[in-house]
Symmetry: C2
Subunit: 321 residues, 2 copies
């Protein structure tokens, strides 16, 4: 059963991402956007699309509802990502971004996630249990809709019970609870790590780097088998049972959200392929770099990925052993 | 055939109106709206909902497409308004309003209407011809999607050929073309009338009022049988073959878009019931007043309507005879 390499990606709170491009926004009047884009969004969907583009065998599960959920599913069908969503009665959320092309500013409006009934969640759990019987790795990614903060913790425990490794990318209470359930990897960014350990962190100077590394080690003590911290332009830090590494290349500009999701996809892919930590981290960092350079989340240019792989430096950190 | 009193409302460019309430918007950052509302929108839909609430026999026709169109239709079903939409391949547009509850400002983003293929428009025309065989009045309301500017003119001509009276509420080129086709009533607001006659207008002082009345008379010379100008807090002006009247009461505050649509509903209803012009105008103005006081477009409180009817003063204007 375990010789296959399906990666199940769980998106409990997907979104329809609507983006308006306006040349000079009137924040107290009527605007006619020159460009309108609606795309399936949410971190889990970006992870699944990146894995699909890598040629990985991926299955996307989660919750969708209403006409917004139908729009998400219909747009996903066009990408070719296999899905097995559980329907809910409430409407899947929208995110709305207004890009002021004149001011160079972006305003984002994130709707709250929908409520989920006990019956709906039970039906999702049945689909999740089915996926656990046939997958090697599960990725739990993004915020939770109207569900308890320990939801990811329980899903990590279920994965463990099936011998499936879990990668967790979330924040706040859901990250703290999920970490204690012992996932193979948690992937906070610097702000999420700082919030989890309750102190300010900056990847700057020997003391700053030591503090970040110590904070990641603290999340390992709380249960995570490995912690990968995404540092935006400063690359990735991995603190694991086998050692600690930092992966970086030339500074990365662009879309940090999409980049973090590509990193998660790279980590899950490397786990499934049995890559060792330095190689896994190199690929994940290169994918993040390529995704940051792409215009839309969930996308990357293979040529950018190859170039970033060639440029990437992975350095072992002796002090964190 | 003509003893029935069905009012057909044509909404070629309906919308899904999404409203976010935010307490202090960060226009260059991430916002989490406290309140989210999605409702079927577009002027025609407001007119149809108001007529339905008045107990009129209404049928709503138009074009809807994609998941946004499905959301509009599904929300309309909940209101009980009978619909016969023609499907199109492109997505029905959204409008997006950000209400900054702290600043007391509203930013509106109106997506462009969808393209309409020749085959899709032909199928709509067949549904329109069916409706013309069984209705007394047709209301043509709102902007056009990707269709020629003379679309309303041709729909008014088709109505005339079936002996059906037409009420037109639109703006710009579509208003100018439509006016020349001889509809029973056109209903511009002051800005739309000013744009149609190419000069600035203000309902202020004897000279200002005479200029507005002359501009309305000019639209009659261009083909409209009657012109009703909505003057926001200053009520309604009607210039007709039977005379000219001004209807006003205490100043009206609130939602001017919904108010204009309620005025159109009142005019069409009065036409169908055979009310004379002063009575028709009184009811239309009172409906506009009640709609302006309601929290959402397309809605009004019957008690507000009754109170506004009692308060409304209709004055005949001798100079415009």
């Amino acid at each position: 059963v375990w010789d296959n390499s399906v990666i199940a990606v769980i998106a409990l709170n997907p979104a329809l991402d609507v983006t308006h491009h306006v040349d000079g926004v009137d924040w107290a009047g009527v605007n006619r956007p020159a460009g309108v884009r609606a795309a399936p969004g949410g971190k889990g969907l970006n992870v699944a699309r990146t894995l699909h583009a890598l040629g990985a065998d991926v299955l996307l599960l989660g919750l969708t509802g209403g006409s917004t959920g139908a729009a998400v599913e219909s747009a996903l069908r066009a990408t070719g990502v296999p899905t097995a969503f559980t329907p809910i009665a409430a409407e899947t959320r929208r995110t709305f971004a207004v890009v002021d092309t004149r001011a160079g500013e972006v305003a984002v409006f994130n709707e709250p996630g929908p409520p989920v009934t006990a019956g709906e969640y039970d039906r999702f759990l049945a689909a999740y249990a089915d996926a656990l019987r046939t997958c090697a790795t599960v990725v739990l990614s993004g915020s939770l809709p109207g569900l308890p903060a320990d939801t990811y913790a329980r899903l990590v425990e279920l994965a463990s019970a099936h011998g499936v490794t879990a990668v967790l990318d979330t924040s706040g209470e859901a990250l703290l609870h999920g970490t204690s359930a012992g996932p193979a990897i948690v992937k906070p960014n610097l702000a999420e790590l700082a919030s989890a350990v309750g102190r300010e962190l900056e990847w700057n100077g020997p003391a700053g780097r030591a503090a970040v590394t110590a904070a990641a080690a603290h999340l390992r003590e709380r249960g995570a088998q490995a912690v990968v911290v995404s540092l935006s332009a400063d690359g990735l830090l991995a603190v694991t049972a086998q050692g600690a590494w930092h992966a970086a290349s030339r500074p990365v500009q662009g879309n940090p959200t999409g980049a973090g999701d590509a990193v998660v996809a790279g980590l899950a892919h490397g786990l499934t392929l049995g890559r060792d930590w330095p190689d896994r981290l190199r690929h994940a960092a290169a994918l993040g770099s390529a995704a940051a350079a792409a215009p839309a989340a969930g996308e990357f240019e293979p040529r950018e990925y190859a170039q970033a792989l060639a440029d990437m430096q992975v350095v072992e950190l002796e002090q964190a052993r």
